[in-house]
């Protein structure tokens, strides 16, 4: 053939991905540089159905990965969010868990803040992160807290989810009931791979420490600011905070 295997695959693969935009579903996204002997392929109904299958599978994979959050959104909003995600190239991984976290971030951008909807979205993401990490989690040795220059940060595997009403009332609405009124009394649940059943209600001290550790901070600074060593140790053992090794510092 006139085109290399790599060239053919890149051309075909990119065209299939790019043509998944429903706004252009009535026509094929034929690459500008397609050789003339391949125009039949790209202009064929078979190419179109291949694109439709790719889009349908991608939508299905994405929907499966955020099942809870999408189920509580109005159907039209769910569909629009899914289409936007797939249009941007999402949902293509055969086993979607690697994309699920990013997809839930994407959904969160489309939800009012604060809101019960956003809380449920973050709850699903927190559960995903903590449960995936729990498969490999080993609590770090606490002796590491005392190393000179020790720096800590909030773990990517952990999350703090804020409920703007009693969590039981918010979760009860998932069975089809109405969400309770938004309350100024916030309940924060901490999710981490080392916690029993992956979560517990966070205390005021834990919340303050978590928020401080959004950026890496030296241990001695935390202690100087009044954070108690016991609280730091508990969150570290639970995998909610983690050590920052040399060369990993962000600030």
């Amino acid at each position: 053939m006139n085109v290399s295997l790599l060239g053919f695959q890149s051309m075909l693969g990119r065209a299939v991905r790019a043509s998944g935009d429903p706004a252009v579903s009535h026509r094929c996204n034929v690459p500008a540089d397609v050789p003339t002997d391949l125009t039949t392929l790209f202009a064929s109904p078979g190419f179109r159905i291949t694109v439709d299958v790719q889009r349908s599978w991608s939508m299905g994979r994405a929907a499966k990965s955020a099942r809870l959050t999408l189920s509580i959104l109005p159907p039209e909003q769910s569909r629009q969010i899914l289409e936007q995600w797939v249009k941007a190239g999402g949902g293509t991984a055969s086993f979607f868990a690697t994309e699920a976290d990013a997809f839930l971030d994407f959904i969160a951008e489309h939800l009012p803040a604060p809101s019960h909807l956003l809380t449920i979205c973050r709850l699903e993401q927190a559960t995903l992160r903590a449960s995936e990490a729990a498969r490999r989690f080993i609590a770090p040795p606490l002796s590491g807290l005392d190393l000179p220059g020790r720096v800590l940060r909030a773990s990517r595997q952990a999350s703090l989810v804020r409920f703007y009403a009693e969590p039981n009332l918010v979760l009860a609405a998932l069975d089809g009931g109405a969400f309770p009124a938004m309350s100024s009394s916030i309940v924060s649940l901490l999710f981490a791979p080392g916690l029993d059943r992956l979560l517990r209600e966070a205390s005021g001290e834990q919340i303050a420490l978590w928020e401080r550790l959004i950026e890496p901070v030296e241990m001695k600074t935390l202690l100087y600011e009044g954070h108690r060593r016991e609280v730091i140790a508990a969150l570290t053992l639970a995998g909610a905070t983690e050590y920052v090794e040399q060369g990993q510092r962000c600030v």
Partner: protein, 310 residues
């Protein structure tokens, strides 16, 4: 683990393939009672369905999930297994999925399989900064000499790595006008060249043959006759459905009558076939139900017995 004493011996240098009979994929949604000797002779496991992917630097890692694997092993305990992968992307010119192979290394150590298979196709293309980009759907390979060279070399590496027979499955696809070299000519020529040069066997998917014959308007018997039938070790049958004028390889129901006819046609001609699998997807298995599945297995067994036990 028990297998039939009957075996197919290729040559002194090639592996022995035990004759199995009729099998099903391992589907977590099905009752465990189906996976019993008497109902089936073996189970086909897709390891990726028992795994989770996670980012691993720029690449990904595929980790078996211990409780999913343990449940599958309990369910299939009395039966031998074969492996049917979906994630290798053996035909991607820029490189195959090394994470799949690393997963399969550990899977084979913990749960040995009699042979393993993959799809003759590709599903990844080069992305940015050397990363691999998922297309989102498997795509067919062009029947060219370059394809033969790329895939046959990988087949040889896989045979060396696992030490058990390796099979490639002919895919269903909807694309006309694939680039073609006259020396290879078509999918039958491609499969023949790869099995010859790579030393692997074929998994002949008769529903894929049926799909291609319907969608490309050609004779399914002509497709089968072009395949290297002496290298066919396993056969898949499955169901599909119509979508926008195409017969889709959907694995969503009973086997079409024409596909049963193709099995009846193929078995006496492909005399080394050692196993027939009724394929379906997990989400459709529960809808189809155990009774219908048992009926499809009986139908497959009746044809199998006609040609293998006559």
């Amino acid at each position: 683990m028990t297998t039939s004493s009957a075996t197919v011996v290729r040559s002194k240098s090639e592996p022995i393939v035990p004759t199995l009979g009729i099998g099903l994929p391992y589907l977590a949604s099905l009752p465990a009672e189906i996976y019993q000797a008497g109902m089936l002779e073996f189970v086909e496991v897709t390891p990726e369905t028992l795994c989770r992917q996670r980012p691993d630097g720029k690449a990904i890692a595929i980790d078996p999930v211990p409780d999913l694997v343990a449940r599958a092993r309990r369910t299939c305990d009395s039966l031998p297994i074969i492996v049917h992968g979906v994630e290798l992307s053996i035909g991607s010119a820029h490189g195959w999925n090394e994470a799949y192979l690393e997963m399969l290394d550990s899977f084979q150590t913990s749960w040995p399989f009699l042979w393993h298979s993959e799809h003759l196709g590709f599903q990844t293309i080069p992305g940015e900064n050397g990363a691999s980009l998922e297309v989102g759907v498997p795509l067919p390979l062009p029947p060219t000499e370059e394809t033969v060279r790329v895939v046959a070399a990988r087949v040889r590496a896989i045979r060396e790595r696992y030490g058990v027979p390796f099979l490639l499955e002919n895919p269903a696809h909807y694309l006309p006008g694939l680039p073609t070299d006259p020396t290879v000519a078509d999918e039958g020529g491609l499969m023949t060249a790869i099995t010859n040069h790579g030393g692997c066997f074929q998994l002949l998917d008769l529903h894929n043959v049926y799909c291609n014959s319907v969608n490309h308007q050609c004779d399914p018997l002509a497709i089968i006759n072009r395949m290297p039938l002496d290298r066919v070790v396993e056969i898949h049958v499955a169901g599909g459905s119509w979508q926008d004028g195409f017969w889709m390889d959907a694995h969503d129901g009973r086997v079409p009558e024409r596909v049963w006819e193709l099995l009846d046609y193929t078995l006496p001609r492909a005399t080394n076939v050692a196993a027939v699998v009724f394929e379906m997807l997990d989400e459709h298995a529960a809808v189809l139900g155990p009774t219908a599945i048992a009926e499809e297995l009986q139908r497959a067994r009746a044809i199998w017995r006609r040609w293998r036990e006559a």
